[in-house]
Amino acid sequence: MKPELEKRIVRTPDGQEFEVDPLRDYYCEAAPTVMPAAYGKIVEDLFNWARSQSLWILGFGTGCGAIEMRPLMTPRFDAYRYGVQWRPTPRQANLFIISGYLSTKTLKRAIRSYEQMQNPKYVVGLGSCTINGGMYWDSYNTIKCLDQYLPVDLYITGCMPRPEALLQGFEDLKKLIRAGKCEGANKYSENFDWYKANQKQVIHDWDMPDYNW
């Protein structure tokens, strides 16, 4: 356990003392719950159409694929015309692109970031590393199969995929969202114990709460 997660006594400038238990006070203890569709099909379809028009990506580059995302922000490829943009914090984003190989150390940060994102949220695996390990198939610290640890809605193949492939991937993701097939967050909640068991199997020093909401 990290020192900042341990119980401690905090003294205020006024001289008061109170106990802080970070795991209880700073984090939500409850596991995520499944969020069923709230309205009928027609309204949900409208919502899904609206969701598909606003893909806000978390600016978190995990591997070499992060380099392929940079040209998309520039005038040459200009992903913004498709309603795609990058945001600096997980709270403002709804699409998490795992851009390339994911070492176990980065996986820990990726899980924390994913859990802090708000519903509805989508995960796209970019490049062959996220699909079957790619050239890191025999690495001692790189995961080989991303969907064991996070619910993946779409994979984009390539090593690395060109920006055009990414733009095509966004269009495919939009189709999936409009069809109501991007239920990754609900899948994560449903199989929460399975995902946590898989994550803890590769992350040996689990020094964070089980759910980082």
């Binding site: 150390k105 198939w137 025999d138 690495s139 001692y140 995961i143 080989k144 064991q148 898989n198 040996h204």
Partner: protein
Amino acid sequence: MRELYQRLQSLFVLGELTEQRANLFFITVEKDRLRPLITHLRDREGLRHLVLLTAVDWLEEGQFQLTYLLCDRLTRRDLGLRVMLDRANPVMESIHDLWPTAATYQRELREMFGIDFPGSPRLDEEFILEGWNTTPPYRRDFDTLEYARSQYAERAGRETRDPETHMRAQLYPESN
């Protein structure tokens, strides 16, 4: 480089010499004799830059080889010092007081090879790996492939068939 070597030879006990290039020599030295030599090279001979400190695992000989590569920027020459350590008990004197950057190399070697440098700052903190609990990964007796297979889930590969037998079975099922 030659006259440097001859000068050093009159002052220190040196081991084997390897002349890689006209401006790159390697000298093997005993473990306990490294420190006076490397201090002399830094302060008197102008080899002020520690380029790298790295290790090689000679599994068959039961030894680790440490390489201290020094550089003289003015005369453009490099000198590598090789130190052989016992693989069963790999302990080496720290040189972090001569070059502060050496502490970083020593942390890496400690984590990746399990070579100990007593007294080096932040040596026991995690450097790159987190929660590593088996053999240090750069040691050659660490089986990377086996570890990756046992640790990380794999996706089943594509099914492949021999084209000739497959097509024969498809087109002429009675011939089999």
